[in-house]
Symmetry: C2
Subunit: 282 residues, 2 copies
């Protein structure tokens, strides 16, 4: 192996080994409000000014800001004898809380839950099962039980999901042309962020969100129902209810009764959870 090849491999090694440094720097700067302050003020500021406004230690803030410059989350310029920090386009778009594409809630949830969970990765591989009990206390059997255990946790979870759909939702709903389908089912559609993408892209479709009763109750209250007459809810549990069978029956009936178009989109997330969409043209 030549030395260039080894140098390249060492670069990757360092990036892999220290990946968690970067994840946490991203969250800490977001959490403390660095990117919000710099977006709102509209002009670059010294680390002393930022530390004062955000009520942190000056030296701690200075080090954090310099790290953010290294990661291209911030830019730095010298004026007189002082360094001034400002957001990069990246920070304005993804890290400031007020941006429509902000990932703050996702970062926060994954830092609180994901980061802690990965402490137990070796145990999870040994035992072949999740380690939720080590994180959320005994008798926590599955992820959704942990996420739905309080109103506050549901709120956090849906805010985080909303963040990811703000990046990828449009791409998902436009992957297939669904414009010919008047009714779209979103299984596990939660607070309705993706359903909104659907109704916005397909003005002639309505969307039915199928989710757990406590989710439907909450979504009805907070998010969608008041403004979106083309979005409705149906209570159920797609891990237990025979949704597939139900939908297939519906499909068969639709065909035999002369309905023309049926569409199914199936995809797999990183947790191997399948979400299915079905749509039937009447």
């Amino acid at each position: 192996m030549d030395s260039t090849e080894e140098s390249e491999m060492i670069k990757i090694l360092l990036q892999y080994q220290h990946g968690f440094f970067i994840s946490k720097v991203l969250l800490t700067a977001s959490e403390l409000g660095v990117f919000d302050l710099l977006l709102e003020s509209g002009e670059s500021q010294t680390s002393t000014m930022i530390a004062e406004r955000l009520n942190t230690s000056p030296i701690g803030m200075e080090r954090l800001l310099e790290t953010c410059v290294g990661l291209k989350l911030l830019r730095m310029e010298r004026k007189g004898d002082k360094d001034y920090f400002g957001n990069t386009k990246f920070a304005n778009l993804f890290l400031a809380k007020s941006s429509p594409k902000s990932q703050y809630n996702y970062l926060k949830l994954f830092s609180e839950i994901g980061y802690s969970s990965f402490q137990y990765l070796t145990d999870a591989v040994r035992e072949g099962k999740n380690q939720l009990e080590s994180i959320h206390g005994p008798s926590t059997k599955d992820f959704f039980q942990a996420m739905y255990s309080s109103e506050e946790k549901i709120e956090k979870y849906f805010s985080a999901l909303g963040n990811t759909w703000s990046l990828f939702g449009r791409e998902v709903v436009s992957a297939f042309d669904l414009s010919h389908f008047p009714t779209i089912y979103d299984l596990g559609g939660g607070s309705g962020v993706l359903a909104k993408e659907c109704t916005s892209l397909y003005p002639n479709s309505t969307v039915t969100i199928f989710d757990l009763p406590q989710v439907v109750e909450r979504a009805n209250k907070h998010f969608v129902a008041s403004k979106e007459h083309r979005i409705t809810f149906q209570e159920g549990n797609f891990f237990k209810d025979p949704v597939l069978k139900l939908t297939c029956t519906f499909w068969l009936e639709s065909c035999t009764s002369g309905m023309r178009k049926v569409c199914a989109v199936v995809y797999k997330t990183s947790q191997s959870l399948q979400t299915r969409w079905w749509s039937v043209d009447s």
Copy 2:
């Protein structure tokens, strides 16, 4: 902003957000012995065979191995109706424990200490001080106190440092030509890994390692003294002892008494800790 630019930024965002996944996958596969097994056996194996040999769950191991393929730590090939996994060059070089450039001890230490410490990054920035008490218990004031609190911890710390010097040691000691200097001082030289690099590269030099009494005692016992007559130790604490003054005095005396060459190498680590090397030609 065009969509290509945004796609590029999203790629970086995902890499930053999920950096900790990768750090932990690297460690878990190392810790379970995946890379050692595949290096020693010399041939690729199925996930079932690997899980059996390493005493883990089959499904947990299968998922881990597939993730490692994604990160190019392993390669996978299909034979018949089964997938076989083998080490990449990267894994053989850096991740198998028996490789001279193995980073296993470094990964392990940073996973145990670094990963936990970064849980408290936001507090550290707010308060402007380390959060060692949250991790190692009250009255832990500084990093070295934590690292040197038991024989086992010293062992871990030095093994980890040894790993990094196996990658960068030769580069550091050859950054300046020290061949004209018969005596080299390595301040905070620990177990002597870097001193060994020095004596190997500079056959006419001797190295004096300056470190804390408990470190010197241990290093004398375990590592160097028995084999390397050109390495000696001196007890001290470079945070407290006036090393610089001592060395400068020595330098002045050397000059006035007709010694010819003096060399100093100063560098800064990521923790802003300065290490100095002094060498005087008699």
